[in-house]
């Protein structure tokens, strides 16, 4: 809980000519980012991110889904769920934590589950079976900037994901040799001629890299105060500056960055002209962040 005088102190130091923050960072610095991938052996892809204390673990698990079922999509789909550990929010009731969990899951789902980001190698048997990628994130602790860290963790886990290689198999009726009625089996006439099932080609390799690696987006949270903005708020700054603009940019290699999601959160309003300059600033930060994360993820995957 922050008092009014503390909030006013933080606001006035952010708005002053030489902006001051509690830990001496500039308005556009992130706290130190720690990122590791491949931490969970049983998952198809996993990652842990820690930004100045806010820690999130994300893991991907693939399961086979019937395309004809209610939720199935031909070509595969991604489903995201976020759960917050009770230790992350000790001062909130479980109903409030449920609400936070739900909101974070919705944001991830509507962004990462969108058809424009769907990977192309999630299909097993066209029109019959496909992979359902379950991306589960756990918020272990939250000391500010939860949205950015959540997307960083989700992105890293998806980067690390390998899809098992499958092979479609079809049943063929065995050739009937003339005059040998004993070889015919009563089941021959009932077997389908099309590919009806699949098998794992090779148990020992992890599989193909999940497609669309460079398209996964990053989230930039611009905390808005008066006409200024700053990045990576710690909890006190969060309380003092409630209005935030979330810009979720996808920066594929050598192409223009694309906005995959936008949200305005908090009590406050912005002018349309402000939105324009914020989007341009957000684009710059997103490209820089993507480049840094890309370098780290590349070196991680080469080491494995």
């Amino acid at each position: 809980m922050t008092s009014k005088s503390e909030k006013s102190y933080i606001q006035s130091s952010l708005l002053s000519d030489a902006p001051l923050r509690a830990d001496g960072r500039s308005l556009w610095d992130y706290r130190s980012i720690f990122l590791e991938t491949g931490i969970i052996a049983q998952a198809n892809g996993s990652a842990r991110v820690n930004v100045g204390g806010t820690e999130i673990v994300a893991a991907c698990k693939l399961e086979v889904e019937d395309v004809e079922s209610i939720d199935g999509i031909d070509g595969g789909r991604i489903f995201c769920a976020v759960s917050c550990s009770l230790s992350a929010y000790p001062h909130l009731s479980s109903a409030a934590i449920d609400d936070i969990q739900y909101d974070l899951s919705q944001l991830l789902n509507s962004t990462l589950g969108h058809s424009s980001l769907r990977p192309s190698n999630l299909s097993i048997l066209p029109h019959k079976r496909s992979w359902l990628l379950n991306l589960d994130c756990i918020v272990i602790s939250d000391v500010g900037n939860i949205y950015d860290v959540l997307f960083m963790a989700a992105r890293a886990a998806l980067w690390d994901t390998h899809v098992p290689i499958t092979r479609a198999i079809e049943y063929r009726a065995p050739q009937r040799t003339s005059g040998d009625a004993m070889d015919e089996s009563g089941l021959d006439t009932r077997q389908a001629a099309q590919a009806a099932d699949f098998e794992l080609k090779d148990y020992w390799t992890e599989g193909d890299i999940l497609d669309g690696r460079d398209r996964w987006p990053v989230c930039i949270t611009l905390n808005l105060i008066s006409s200024k903005h700053f990045l990576d708020a710690d909890p006190r700054e969060d309380a003092a500056v409630p209005l935030r603009l979330l810009l979720i940019f996808s920066c594929p290699n050598s192409q223009k960055p694309l906005l995959q999601g936008t949200r305005l959160i908090g009590s406050g309003e912005i002018a349309p002209s402000e939105f324009k300059s914020l989007v341009e600033a957000g684009q710059k930060y997103a490209m820089a962040l993507t480049k840094t994360l890309h370098a780290k993820l590349q070196s991680d995957s080469l080491q494995q």
Binding site: Y102, H114, L117, L258, L259, R263, L264, E269, F275
Partner: protein
């Protein structure tokens, strides 16, 4: 399998909606039409907005735009018991889909999807209300969706209905909140898209703003857009919001005139 509700008579555990012949024909049309059916890209559907639907509430409104029908009731400002003193009033928005509002029946119990719409509508309304004048009080906004034609349309019409109902209840505010949804279909911006148009679009962009002050209170975008396209969508929606504001103002003036005469 439907969840078992002890307070109601449950139907059979496994049941599916019937498939009609007409539906099968409609599904086969998968080619995106290049031009919009029935109206221009920048045209919104005609809005019917009236207040005074629910006599029990302090304020209420009903909005209808083609296939989206939403009723809104406002109760407040009223005292919040069991909560510590708060010098700023509390705005609580609750949205409920009626079971018959969607093509597949929704459970009468509160659903998770209701919450995401409530959060967006609350975000749209919050900056417009003078809650600092209402310490220790709460305002409850109950929104019932009678017929649903896409989530974006629900959010936009819901915010318009809620703001009208709040004004009808006499709650002090900085200005009326109007809201408009748009969809990016290939290279064109289509305003006020229906559910089918949204599914075929590559991105949807919904804003809420206060035309009297010229500020934006809520932005919600999903899908893939470049930064320039996002800014164009914002400008298109803002222009449309000014027209919706006139509709809201005349609805409120008419209802006041009816009350006085």
């Amino acid at each position: 399998m439907a969840s078992f509700d002890r307070r109601r008579i449950n139907g059979p555990e496994e049941s599916r909606p019937p498939v009609f012949e007409d539906d099968e024909d409609a599904e086969q049309i998968s080619v995106t039409p290049k031009t919009r059916k029935g109206r221009a890209n920048k045209d919104i559907r005609p809005i019917f907005l009236t207040t005074g639907l629910i006599s029990e509430g302090n304020g209420s409104s009903y909005i209808e735009t083609e296939k989206t029908k939403i009723a809104c009731a406002v109760y407040g400002p009223r005292q919040i018991k069991n909560e510590p003193y708060n010098e700023i009033g509390n705005l609580n928005v609750e949205v409920k889909f009626s079971p018959f509002s969607c093509s597949r029946r929704r459970a009468p119990l509160r659903d998770a999807e209701d919450r995401s719409i409530s959060v967006l509508i609350q975000q749209s309304l919050l900056p417009s209300l003078r809650l600092e004048l209402l310490p220790k009080s709460g305002i409850d906004v109950f929104i019932t969706i009678i017929e649903n034609d896409g989530v974006e349309a629900c959010v936009a019409s819901g915010a318009v209905a809620a703001s009208t109902a709040l004004a009808d209840a006499g709650i002090e505010m900085f200005g009326l909140v109007t809201s408009c949804a748009s969809a990016m279909v290939e290279e064109d911006i289509w305003l006020d898209p229906t559910a089918e148009e949204t599914v075929r679009a590559r991105a949807s962009f919904t804003i809420a703003c206060i035309p009297a002050l010229g500020t934006v209170t809520n932005i919600w975008q999903t899908g893939q857009l470049t930064a320039e396209e996002a800014i164009c969508c914002l400008e298109a929606c803002q222009t449309c919001c000014r027209d919706i504001h006139n509709v809201m103002a005349s609805a409120l003036l008419n209802s006041q005139a009816a009350k006085c005469s």
